[in-house]
Symmetry: C2
Subunit: 284 residues, 2 copies
Amino acid sequence: MELWTTEQHKDMALGFRTTKTLYHAQSPYQAVDIVETTRYGRLLLLDGAVMTTDKDEFVYHEMISHVPMLAHPNPKRVLVIGGGDGGTVRELVKHPSVEQVVLCEIDGLVVDSCKEFFPQIAAELNHPKVEVIIGDGVAYMANDAKGFDLIIIDSTDPIGPGEGLFTEEFYRNTYNALNEDGMMVAQTESPFVCQDLIRTIYPMYERIFPIVRMYTGHIPTYPSGFWTWAFCSRKYDYPLPEAHLDRVREIEKTCKYYNAELHAASFVLPNFVKDLLKQPISIQ
Amino acid sequence: MELWTTEQHKDMALGFRTTKTLYHAQSPYQAVDIVETTRYGRLLLLDGAVMTTDKDEFVYHEMISHVPMLAHPNPKRVLVIGGGDGGTVRELVKHPSVEQVVLCEIDGLVVDSCKEFFPQIAAELNHPKVEVIIGDGVAYMANDAKGFDLIIIDSTDPIGPGEGLFTEEFYRNTYNALNEDGMMVAQTESPFVCQDLIRTIYPMYERIFPIVRMYTGHIPTYPSGFWTWAFCSRKYDYPLPEAHLDRVREIEKTCKYYNAELHAASFVLPNFVKDLLKQPISIQ
């Protein structure tokens, strides 16, 4: 018998040879599954969609955190919405400037299961600078969030519990929760697969933030392998000022993907992606 | 009933929803299959491995051709080994400097079936500057090839008919078939999937060519989506001299992926890939 874990979409499927199922539970929000694969080690699925794996998680977590952290001259307070596996938090606390990281994850089961099955990803969830809130990120952003230098939207796909994280109201509240030189980064799916989402959400960001950029990376366990993040900023643009290079060199020593040259190169877009950003879809 | 076309490896699988099978034949070298998929249009498989699709072929063909063509100041004679679908040739003849393109493909069935089922990829195979040789690229390189400004190794994977295209003798003959300022580009698989190949073949290139670089791109229908090419040169390095920018701007207008900024950015490597290149495997 062969065991495979397959993320199947309408017209594509990505399969992973699997040796065993380690965990299955249904939370109030989603199905949480953890399996052991032969190529990528342990793999976390939420509602059947691959979230992270032992072997490639470094790409996503380094890119979603170090790019904005090193574009900002002195990030002290950081908010992560989602990200219950802890990988983003683990990267954030590497930065000496950080005084507080607040993680607001809707699903406590994700946090608990990742602490058990992905100890190296969840490694810093108990760090003294980290506050974990199990709660609704949309409500937290509307009511409680303020004074952040960086807000990271480390969400699932825009269906299911992550849906509220793709609305204009949410991003207006995000803008207001930032200090006046603050910035926001969000994962924005694949330009091969989610073209309509990209054509909708980037114009939305542009209605709110004065500086909006897209950057990219390679994630082999996500659909198409080509992933994007939005960099939205109130003041600072993405290029690294010379003054940040010492900080960058310290961080990149700890990284398996990110480095100073890649920081800039990841913002260079293929023509078809630039064209997507020039063909906005407006949804009223 | 659901029809899927799946490229299955030891521990991963990539599936494409399929509406029909258009072509199947067994040549003396390999099984040739063409199917119609819902996401990527028509898809060509050789021995069950995805070679190209209507919808994403532009990435591979633009990157394997325009990067070296625009790094060279005046490429006139170009040789393509493999590449029987014609996509690389189609990009090469866009360059006004080109006087002759020789395509040496071992399998005439690939050329014929692509002319029939991928007319927009095979579009320039009858171009007056193009000579198509149906023959063994290894023998052609050893015995007949000389005086080329650029040689492109547009091969299948290093098993089956492409195997001879991954040996040191073949690349020594390639070096000798180049003019003294010539360059060679070869596809070198995925750094997530084929790490041992990369750790073997780049040191081999470095034993032969004074300038060896890796560059990368996103190909959603290849394993992991993260693809690499070797840029091996006798004289010129990859950065675009200012003097080439007019040529680049003309070519990039015709491209869906390649542009001048991406030319440079595609040579910037993530840390784990740089580490692979620092951990050579030598095979005697």
